[in-house]
Symmetry: C2
Subunit: 246 residues, 2 copies
């Protein structure tokens, strides 16, 4: 990457999923040295951690910090608490009993997989990391198209976090504010996949499933798997990730 312009350091939130891998590739293509940041937060899909490490290595990051935090003490979400991940019924397959536990409908269209203030916590840590390594930017892979129900995936949220960050740090007071960038926010999944391919992202390293089996194979049926599979279909490509029901 020595031919790229030097844009300084950038912290990239790396979940191990498809979106954050493409986001990292975009930051790298902009000439940034990458400082990756991942979280273990009591979620069931800890296999994402291994995916995040693989992606970080493939991207040639300067450093990869994996921060362990405990969001389970607060309770309240399918991704951190002990309730089943919701899976839309599919006409082709009978729904096994273990999957049919009824959950209340999400109020206001907010998905059951919403974790309270998750992106705010992630961005707060990213801000600390960015200030410490003197990075000029934070990249995160939030998307308002596929995840329109999440309050903290919307452009207005990112704008207000930026406004807060602009007065929150020593760096900001000294005239070098840290930019919060969400390059995928208005893209469809198919557009994200095509952009990732252009930038050489190896999607076989990425992992999106909310409910993988122990071996790491994706369920192919949760909200996240369905969005990903639809994205590959719309892009006219096959998903190289392993699935339980190919």
């Amino acid at each position: 990457m020595s031919e790229l312009p030097q844009a300084g350091g950038a912290v990239v939130l790396l979940s191990g999923g498809l979106d954050s891998a493409v986001t990292a590739a975009i930051a790298r293509a902009a000439g940034h040295r990458l400082f990756a940041l991942s979280f273990l937060y009591g979620q069931r899909h800890a296999v994402e951690r291994d995916a995040a490490c693989s992606v970080a290595a493939a991207m040639g990051v300067v450093r990869h910090v994996v921060q362990t935090i405990d969001l389970r003490v607060f309770g309240g979400s399918a991704l951190t608490a002990d309730i089943d991940v919701p899976k839309p019924a599919r006409p082709a397959t009978a729904e096994p009993a273990a999957r049919t536990r009824t959950l209340p409908p999400p109020p206001g269209g907010i998905p059951l997989t919403y974790v309270p203030a998750r992106n705010t916590i992630f961005l707060a840590f990213a801000l600390a990391y960015a200030e410490t390594v003197e990075a000029s930017a934070i990249y995160l892979g939030v998307n308002a198209v596929d995840y329109s129900g999440y309050p903290d995936c919307r452009p207005e949220y990112i704008r207000r976090f930026q406004a807060m960050a602009d007065v929150a740090t020593r760096a900001a007071l000294e005239g070098t504010p840290i930019r919060i960038l969400a390059p995928l926010i208005d893209m469809t999944k198919a557009q994200i996949i095509r952009r990732g391919l252009e930038l050489g992202v190896d999607f076989s390293l990425t992992h999106s499933c909310y409910d993988p089996e122990a071996s790491g194979r994706a369920c192919g049926r949760c909200e996240s798997c369905l969005i990903r599979l639809d994205g590959f279909r719309a892009a006219g490509l096959a998903d190289p990730a392993p699935y339980q029901n190919p």
Copy 2:
């Protein structure tokens, strides 16, 4: 407290210090049920944790969550990294060699004890906690008078965090935003101490020192001890906390 009006739940950030104890007492006096939140973040003054637990018990909180996070992986501060806590030279005492290690002057007047994005991280967790327990407010004991050098202790910072929080959560989208309250922000230390006494705060439970000895006794010489001692003097009172050099 059964005679108080019911103001709903409030998350209180409890460090174990004097300011956060008075803040908790103010939230209790406003009729809130208290949900305390403390952090262990690799700081040297872990004795604050015990103080926080004592204060939480004395305040009759509903629940006290102690969140362990690792800020040392990012480096960069006297409170988390392995450098000496700065102590102003005092005319009466010779400065021992171990204390005189020269540190660069704080740029822009920001103290060396500044921890990157600390309050943003703390408030982000508080937001998750508040949303989960359906609290209507978050109380934090930041103070812009004694800690004017900290970017994230200023009113403008609190205002912008509020603006961000107003779009960040499910609670906000559903019309029940969480208020961020910093009741001490414009008070002098003497005013804070007098207000705490009016509200029955037991200051002997609180702890402020950046560099206590193992027994928990305060050094009496770091920035935080000096501000506290000056505050008690200005309030015309004796500090009941134990000091190494009384």
